[in-house]
């Protein structure tokens, strides 16, 4: 199975992408999309033979919802800071965050979440000490950020990438 279809989730994702691009879920498109996704998956396999293990795909949905909610919140917060003139009230700063997540893909997802969310930015990951340096635009409570990242996202990701 692994040999025939190295990345089943990727395959599904690419097929979905194909269908979305075609804006059609017709059988013909599914067949063609499957062929293309299959080929693309193998290209990926050639590039990166070691694959992440996805333990709990169902948690992905939860993660997405969570992130979307946070994005909306932080958007408003950052917009307020900018419109306030970017002066005085906010205090930006760096946080050094220890992480338990080791899976590279998991880390990549986490970095995307942290960076894509306005107000926080993933700067530097240190694989030896397993820490990440994060920059925060409105650093009122350092611990709150650590909690958000570690408990909301990392915990979920640890479940997904077992």
């Amino acid at each position: 199975m692994k040999r025939v279809l190295p990345y089943p989730l990727l395959f599904a994702g690419l097929l979905l992408m194909w269908l979305l691009l075609q804006q059609s879920f017709g059988l013909g498109h599914i067949l063609l999309g499957a062929v293309i996704a299959f080929g693309a998956t193998h290209a990926m396999a050639a590039l990166q033979p070691e694959r992440p293990t996805i333990g709990r795909p169902d948690k992905i949905i939860r993660l997405i919802v969570l992130v979307l909610a946070d994005i909306i919140r932080s958007n408003l917060a950052v917009a307020r800071i900018i419109l306030a003139g970017g002066r005085g009230e906010h205090k930006s700063g760096f946080i050094l965050l220890p992480l338990e997540l080791r899976d590279k893909s998991g880390l990549a997802v986490l970095s995307c979440i942290v960076t894509a969310t306005p107000g926080s930015a993933w700067l530097e990951y240190d694989p030896v000490g397993s820490t990440v340096l994060v920059h925060v635009l409105d650093l009122i409570d350092e611990q709150e950020w650590i909690d958000t990242i570690k408990h909301r996202y990392e915990a979920l990701l640890l479940e997904i990438f077992q």
Binding site: L21, G26, A40, T41, A43, S105, L107, V128
Partner: protein, 978 residues
Amino acid sequence: MASSIFLIAIVVVPFIASLVAALLPQTARNAEAWLSAAVAIFGLAVTIWLYPQVTDGGVLRQEISWIPELGLNLIFRIDGFAWLFCLLITGVGLLVVLYARYYMSPKDPVPRFFAFFLAFMGSMLGVVLSGNLVQLVVFWELTSITSFLLIGYWFHLVQARDGARMALTVTGLGGLGLLLGMLIIGHIVGSYDLDIVLASGDLIKSHPLYVPALLLVLLGALTKSAQFPFQFWLPHAMAAPTPVSAYLHSATMVKAGVFLLVRFWPVMASTDAWFWIVTFAGLTTLVLGAYIAIFQTDLKGLLAYSTISHLGLITTLLGMSSPLAAVAAIFHIANHATFKASLFMAAGIIDHETGTRDIRKLSGLFRFMPFTATLAMVASAAMAGVPLLNGFLSKEMFFTETALRDANPFVNLALPVGATVAGMFSVVYSLRFVHGVFFGPAPAGLDRVPHEPPALMRRPIEILVLLCLLVGIIPGITIGPFLAAAVVSVVGPDTPYYSLSVWHGFNIPLAMSAIALAGGVLLYLALHKYLARGIEGAPLIGNLKGQRIFERVLVTISWKWAKALEKFLGTRRLQPQLALLVTLAIIAAAIPLVAGVGPLALPPTPFDPAFALVWGVGIVCAIAATYQAKFHRLVALVLLGGAGLVTCVTFVWFSAPDLAVTQLLVEIVTTVLILLGLRWLPKRVEFDSDDTLSRKARVRRIRDLGLAIIAGCGMALMSYAIMTRPAGQGIGDFFLENSYKLGGGTNVVNVMLVDFRGFDTFGEITVLGIVALTVFALLRRFRPASDSIEKPEQQRIQNAFDDQRPDRNSGDTINEYLMIPAVIMAWLFPVIIVLALYIFMRGHDQPGGGFAAGIVMSIGFILQYMAGGTRWVEERLRILPVRWIGMGLLVALATGMGSWLFGYPFMTTAFQYAEIPFIGRVPMASALIFDLGVFTLVVGATVLILIALAHQSVRAPRASRRPAIVREDASPKPEEAR
């Protein structure tokens, strides 16, 4: 008919023999001589055989069609005058061959000599037998070329090289003038046929172009005959082997000039212009040549100046334009050939036997070679105009003409006086030749003891001297009929009576002869002491060396001035060239635009502030990129990206989705590409601010700015003018109407690219493929400049940092830096592949297509290279871009050729709707396969270019051999100026 074929054969056979001679072995001296003699005998025999046909003004002609459209047919024609020349050329030629057989050393490469000699003989015969003006010029120039080769025969001698080049330059120039003159005559007459021209004398003389034509013809004739002011080349031609001098510089080539004067005498002479120019040139040459000849110390030099002088005599005669003068001229042509050829041969023998031609070293040779001395003395006497020799007769006729000429008082005086003085001089130099060489004490300091040459070598001289005597004593029998034939063909049937008898009673000419002879002897006695001192060069004008002037002028004009002018009119720097290009383009557009661009209308499309703002961004980007491009390349690149993005938005705005997609993708690849290159460019620090700029640089900047602004305004104006004009009925509608119906696709632009105008796309992908191959080839030999070999500063610091720490390995920094982004970039790889295929598949109906898809695909590859590095990617993916390029071209080609099977032209698309299970009706256009070829090639080419660049960082850096900055101009070494 038969005889006219022989007429052609006389000219052609020497050329064929010349080729044969060239191919004979180096040592075949006898074979060469026999061959050449046979050719000369053949020519002589045919000439003699043709004689009956040219008497009494008879003309024999043979025409061969060549380029009839241009009035250029090969016409060979012989009349009495040409016959006389043929006789001289072949007859003297035969004797010279015989002489040369003994003269040439066994060490000399004889094949070359005889090959050139025969070619020259053919050319000379061609000149005299040409019946077409252009053909005459052809053979004329051939004589220049062959004589150049003969003069330069001993090319290891610097005099030979210089003499040959000067002869070629002067006579070549004359030949070109002659060509133009002939073309003008052709224009006047309306034909290049000599017979027609000869019948059009009044037309020519009355035509407004007569004077230019005359001047040009004279330029040809006077250079060839070494007449003043072109006399200077002939003495230097004496560097040639003596047989060459005897033949070319006495009997034949220099005679070509006077031949030409005689040939055109009937149609060009007897005008004031002719009289003044020709007579002046002739008389000057006559006197001057004779005067200089007296003071020559080189035997051949003396003879050369004497030749110049005698040719001046002939020219003077022709200038006088009277029929009798023409008779005298023709007569003297033949006489001079006989005595001068024999004298040259004698000089050659003396040179041969004594090893020198210097009169100062020679003396008393009579006792060593009495026969040769006698012969030379007789010939010299002929040269001096001693009675009972042929020279006397024609000189008497000359004196008669000068004495009887009745024009204005000045001419009436100048001509006879000049003639007498020149006659006197000729006696002096003849005496000097005879007395200086053969009498006096035995020569001292010679390498060898001189003796008589082989009998056969002397034979030609004997024959010639015999002719001098026979003609001198019994002219009526010997030369009379031939001369008559020649004269009739020139002067016409109404030739006035002339007498060839030796004795005409006591008259003015006889008195002039007597004065010349007696005066010459007295002058020689007077000058004897001076001459014995052996001072080189003639008094008064000795320093006026024609050759030196010529060479100086030539070097100045053709070398110094040329170099200065080239520098002034041209440049090797890029910036001025580009500035000129822009300037000329502006001028080319401005001239018609100023003449009328028509009224400009208001813009038809309503204003949109968003678009204006977007272009605000675009313009800022463009200007800032321009400003930053010198010192902040990265910034310029960022700004360039901004301008490109705005261009892309513009394409979307105005209904060009395909353009937007392509522009965007190309933009991305270009950015990566330039960044790849940026690593190899030197660091640039801002050092010169505006106030330190030199004045020149500031002026240049202002000029460039002006050009740029004008160009920009022009483009804006033209673009605006077109956009505000209603579009006419163009070809665009056809494509819109038929794209789906006949092309099977709804994206009209794509259907155009792969079908209607698919051939353009074919060419375009070929360009891309070619460029990729070139880039690849060039980078295989790439050597970075020495200051770019090291790894970039950042990497050095980062690696040093890694190396310092015991807990870190080299390369950790980069790994950490890229760890997380690389994961994301790798995951995007399959996504990009899917996107590429999507864009490819939809291209025919929606924006997209093979090119865009190919670029997307290659961006996918490049992203992996950036994330993982070259080695990492190439351990995993095996890409053979060159094969992809080839495959893409072949797929496209095969698709195009597929239509041949059905009898349609290349690239005729077939499409139909196929029912495919589960998918339904799908348009299947063969153009899609073509597009697949495009896709394949674009992937291959783009990846090849980018990877080839990227590989430079991986390769072991090799420094360029060159120093970091090349200061001197690397142009090839200068060679000597001539």
